[in-house]
Symmetry: C2
Subunit: 344 residues, 2 copies
């Protein structure tokens, strides 16, 4: 498995910017929501994948070690699922000063009240219980996100429906900047909406999350997978095998919807479960076998890469250098347009 | 006149951070309020003087050219009044990416409501008529200012009384950062309050300002100086020479207070003016002669330096490189403390 970072992308491929906040190892929810499509995208797009440590810091003050340590974990997850650093550029956000620089330029182009109206931010402020004590870095992180996207002139950004306001905010900043300098320097982007619905937690909660303790990490052992499937929330009213069962909101079926390759068989199972006579244990065994088969090579690759973290770090360094060159080019255009190129 | 930037400072000298927003050539108000003391400070302090173009951008969106063009004008003013780039480090803020980087780190350590409570920002928002449309970059500029101060580990910051909240905000951020990383990396600073009171505009308005058209620039010609003094606001009730006149609020006397080297003679004049019998034209002639004598060498030096702007730019480049090395050292400590030194 080579970790060379030489680019095989061609300029005609659309530029995609995506990434994750490194606050914990990734799990099946990430896999189905984004990682899987990134592996596919690397054949058709010029993909920049950022380990968003700077962004993660905005709501992890005092937990910076958690962020910096998980950069390696998430990088291992990327490699484990088959993201190829020869095809995609994997980089660490904090190591590219040009992103800070562009953030500061864009901060002048948006009002505080506009940031406060951002529905995604509003919801996240509510979730985190910040109320009036919103860190300034958190309120302004959509600007930093816009800098990430525009520094690479990305035209496609994979997002969920809940993140559409971020795309809108980014494009507002692009238009405002270009208008102010009277030149089309930055590029507007479009959302690339995920085709799959969000994977629930094994407890049936809407979102799978490490912090909620309801996730199956990509490096899960066979025993952990077995336990997770056994603990999955099904239909609480499906007490006896012969009872009719409910498929909607039944986590085992949500997972089968996401992972079962045989959709016809799955529909047959659902019908059977609905009319009664199909026990939870049967569907759980089916799901477990599929998850074991799917995760096994991921876990093996993950373990393989973990053996030489120095090499993974070297890969990240090469990716970061490659990304930095691209961002530096954009910033040199931005600065020239604003007359901030005194020494050129 | 040499423009070499080799440092003659010694580590035992206190580090001072000061500077100006380059939005226009400097004037006598700047001279008496800060430039004069900078010339003195360079013998006793390690002085970093920043041309705060990034900060000026926060309320000059769409007027970026005005900012970038005035960087040279202000640099010429510095050299003209006798700031010696061998003794002080003159640099351009925007060219030091480490300042953006530190700003983004500090942004996470302050809440939006704390920034909104800053009295200086409140007053400036009122003056600029921003109301609810405050650019995010403007609300957060005290954080950027704190980054400027702390990146150089400045212990003294020359300010007016109205800027004390900025010092307080900076020190709050220093304590918060050091507390979060559990290590004393950043350094608290103290205000260096100006001994002189603010010079009024020639129209009697509280503040001399280019934009108010009531200033005397440091490069003023003899004719401009003459005209400015002739137009100075005196005592509107002092109609005839024999009438008693008022010294308080009389701009000519405010200027004499600031510039007249012979304080005894000045007190005599004031007494004479108060009891009547001393015409405005007499005091104006005295002031004009003094201003002509004071500005003449400044203007001459300014013209001299203007002849080779390439050399001034080279001086700024050397100063910026020297400043950048200092800021880079601080940022390397900051990043190491946060674990953001992945590639070291």
């Amino acid at each position: 498995m080579s970790l060379n970072a030489s680019s095989s992308s061609t300029p005609s491929r659309p530029i995609v910017l995506t990434g994750d906040r490194p606050t914990g190892p990734l799990h099946l929810g990430h896999y189905i929501g984004s990682l899987k499509s990134r592996v596919e995208l690397q054949h058709t797009a010029q993909q920049f994948i950022l380990l968003a440590d700077t962004q993660a810091m905005t709501d992890n003050v005092g937990r910076h070690q958690r962020v910096t340590e998980n950069v390696m974990e998430v990088a291992l997850d990327y490699l484990a699922v088959g993201i190829d650093p020869e095809k995609s550029t994997i980089f660490i956000q904090s190591q590219i000063r040009e992103l800070y620089e562009l953030s500061m330029v864009l901060l002048n182009l948006v009002t505080v009240s506009r940031l406060e109206r951002n529905p995604t931010i509003k919801e996240e402020i509510r979730l985190r219980g910040f109320e009036r004590d919103i860190p300034a870095g958190f309120l302004t992180y959509p600007v930093s996100q816009a800098a990430d996207i525009t520094a690479f002139k990305a035209v496609l950004v994979p997002v969920g429906n809940d993140q559409l306001p971020m795309i809108e905010q980014t494009n507002e900043l692009v238009r405002r900047f270009n208008n102010v300098v009277g030149k089309d320097i930055l590029v507007e982007c479009k959302e690339l909406l995920s085709a799959t619905s969000r994977l629930p937690g094994i407890d049936g909660k809407a979102k799978m999350s490490k912090s909620l303790g309801n996730s199956i990490p990509l490096g899960a052992t066979p025993a952990e997978i077995k336990k997770a499937v056994n603990n999955m929330y099904t239909d609480p009213n499906h007490l006896r095998v012969e009872d009719p069962g409910q498929v909607e909101g039944n986590v085992v079926f949500s997972f089968l919807d996401a992972f079962d390759p045989n959709k016809d068989e799955l529909e047959g199972l659902k019908a059977h479960y609905r009319r009664g006579g199909l026990g939870d244990s049967v569907v759980k065994r089916r799901l477990e076998a599929q998850l074991q088969a799917m995760i096994e090579p991921i876990r093996t690759r993950r373990e393989e890469f973990s053996k030489d973290k120095g090499e993974v770090l070297a890969m990240l360094k090469r990716g970061t250098e490659r990304a930095r060159a691209v961002a530096a080019q954009t910033l040199s255009e931005v600065n020239a347009a604003m007359g901030l190129n005194y020494f050129d």
